[in-house]
């Protein structure tokens, strides 16, 4: 699928061919050099900005990962791999990897399942569908702080909606302080992230669903295929390429997630929701241990590289 907005005013008239005074070959060589130069000129502003706020910071963090650079050490001192051996020996940081793994797996799994279901539902004709589709986008565009407030209020230990519902239904007899327990905080963080991710994930599936072959389904129907058989044998296989991209994007997004978790739990209680993004932030901006923060950050990047590789390979097919 490409951007579906058509180019307006396409009926521009082609002007008369220019009078060629130089030989066509020399002209073409000149054009090529000019094209190269102008191409780079157009690219230059973005490249400068890119180098300043992305490439340079990344490369310096890469270098700092091999130094001691903290409050006691005002200038970075090269210490080889010592930060990494310290990481390997630290149960705290190991726990951050485990927490990240749990968060990313759960959030990705539920996002994919629920977004797929919601896309299939929104692909069915019903009254008010356009409105529902538009409204679906809301969780995704809300500021991080706002979505964190909403879920913190819903999971509130004294007046929260979850406690009220579970008390009414008899699942619990006392209000539970969800955000103060490890499992409760992780549940809240996963649920809120899934809630935020469904809209955009759903859109990818919906785009895929709209190109499902009608005739193929009609033919299957004539052959007596039931609803679930059609779904299993015709609709879902059609979505496989989209599914791969969506999973990769969801994994990358969840690995990078900081704002929503930080605003909702701050990484707590204790370290129960301290994923790598929060680990790096705390080490850098709470304890000002830049060397360690960079080293953890480097390992964090390493976890993102495999899904990123698949994503970029897919995206760059056309360039």
């Amino acid at each position: 699928m490409s951007i579906g907005v058509s180019i307006g005013g396409g009926a521009l008239q082609v002007g008369a061919a220019p009078d060629l005074r130089v030989s066509p070959l020399a002209k073409r060589a000149g054009l090529k050099a000019a094209e190269r130069r102008i191409g780079w000129l157009f690219m230059a502003p973005a490249l400068v900005a890119f180098a300043a706020v992305i490439l340079f910071p990344f490369l310096s963090a890469l270098g700092l990962a091999f130094t001691r650079y903290d409050l006691q050490t005002p200038e970075p001192v090269f210490i080889g791999l010592r930060n990494f051996s310290e990481i390997a020996a630290s149960p705290e940081i190991r726990q951050s990897f485990v927490v990240t793994f749990v968060f990313v797996s759960l959030a990705t799994l539920f996002t994919i399942i629920l977004a797929l279901a919601w896309a299939i539902i929104l692909n069915q004709p019903f009254r008010g569908r356009a409105l529902v589709r538009t409204a679906t986008i809301i969780p995704w565009v809300l500021p991080s702080t706002v979505s964190a407030f909403i879920w913190a209020w819903i999971f509130n230990s004294r007046f929260g909606l979850i406690n009220a519902a579970m008390l009414e239904l008899g699942f619990i007899s006392q209000p539970v302080a969800w955000l103060s327990t490890s499992a409760g905080a992780m549940t809240a963080v996963v649920i809120s992230k899934v809630w935020i991710s469904i809209p955009v994930t759903m859109t990818f599936f919906l785009a895929g669903l709209q190109s499902v072959d009608r005739e193929q389904i009609d033919a299957a129907r004539v052959d007596g295929a039931g609803d679930f058989a059609v779904l299993r044998d015709h609709v879902l296989p059609h979505l496989r390429p989209v599914l791969l991209v969506v999973i990769v994007l969801a994994v990358i997004g969840n690995l990078q997630q900081f704002d929503k978790i930080f605003a909702l739990t701050g990484g707590g209680p204790v370290r129960a929701t301290t994923v790598l993004s929060i680990e790096v932030y705390r080490r850098a901006f709470d304890s000002w241990d830049i060397g360690m923060a960079s080293a953890v950050g480097l390992l964090w990047v390493a976890t993102i590289i495999p899904p990123a590789y698949f994503y970029l390979r897919h995206l760059l097919k056309g360039v």
Binding site: F50, I54, L142, V146, F149, P175, V301, L312
Partner: protein, 278 residues
């Protein structure tokens, strides 16, 4: 598109649709309902599902407490600036890759796109000392410059795919008429690409408006603070119990971005999904 033939499928479908709709929309409803309830109604273990006695008192206290107006104004400056800068950079870069054939454009594109997968938090570690060194820490300009990180890669890709569809004949014709390259881009390519430009502007705006990490780290003074950290520092701490105010302030902070999306949603969705579902 999938006419359901069996009753069990229809029941399952209706149940799944109801459950998912509840999950997606009830938190938003709860945000609005809670903002409208007076305190006596808000703080109950078993809440009322519908505000019995709706009030706008929380919206008023939200404006009185903290610097909501100032935060909104700062966010507007930073997000507007970041979106503008991002759109300009992405437009030139996207055009370069789409319409100029030179060796190096593919590696450059890979480099730009790979930035999308770098964690923002890691970059911040070294952006921070640079901001301190250049005197840009705690300035809106510094935050605007750093905000390029969020949207530049995807924006460049979005505009690249859009510009690729602009017929090259239009550009060739203008060249033959002797128009300069910049003029061609500004007067021929950009005017037919308004939808894509608006989409990318909005995309950059949204990232910046919704950001917490950079705006809470790179802005220190209270009077320059943007809406994300502003809300967080005002409401989310152990001693605060003003949930009504937090909900009302949240709604106010969300209105600009939600309204923008309501109008531009169609363009936007096409733009964002374009890259991934080719």
């Amino acid at each position: 598109m999938l006419e359901l033939s069996s009753r069990s499928a229809r029941i399952l479908f209706a149940a799944a649709a109801t459950a998912l709709a509840l999950f997606l929309f009830s938190p938003v409803y709860w945000l609005i309902a809670s903002a409208l309830k007076p305190n006596a109604e808000l703080y109950r273990v078993i809440p009322t599902l519908w505000p019995q006695d709706p009030t706008l008192i929380h919206a008023r206290t939200a404006f009185e407490r903290g610097n909501l107006f100032l935060n909104l104004r700062n966010s507007l400056i930073v997000s507007g600036g970041a979106a503008l800068l991002n759109t300009i950079l992405a437009a030139y870069a996207g055009y370069s890759v789409a319409k100029f054939n030179y060796p190096g454009r593919r590696p450059v594109m890979i480099l730009l796109l790979s930035a999308q997968v770098l964690p923002f938090g890691l970059l911040l570690i070294t952006i921070y000392p640079v901001m301190v060194g250049t005197g840009l820490l705690d300035t809106h300009l510094g935050l605007i410059l750093a905000s390029i990180v969020f949207a530049l890669p995807v924006s460049t890709y979005m505009l690249y795919s859009y510009f690729s569809q602009v017929p090259s004949e239009m550009i060739e014709a203008a060249r033959a008429d002797g128009a300069g390259e910049l003029r061609i881009f500004h007067t021929i390519v950009l005017p037919v690409s308004i939808p894509a430009i608006v989409t990318v502007f909005l995309y950059g705006f949204m990232w910046s408006w919704n950001d917490l990490l950079y705006s809470m780290t790179l802005i220190v003074s209270e009077d320059k603070r943007t809406i994300g950290p502003g809300l967080l520092l005002n409401y989310l701490n152990e001693t605060n119990a003003d949930w009504g105010g937090a909900m009302a302030a949240s709604i106010i902070a969300s209105i600009p971005i939600v309204v923008a999306f309501a109008f531009l949603q169609r363009w936007f969705i096409q733009g964002v999904t374009a890259g991934a579902v080719k």
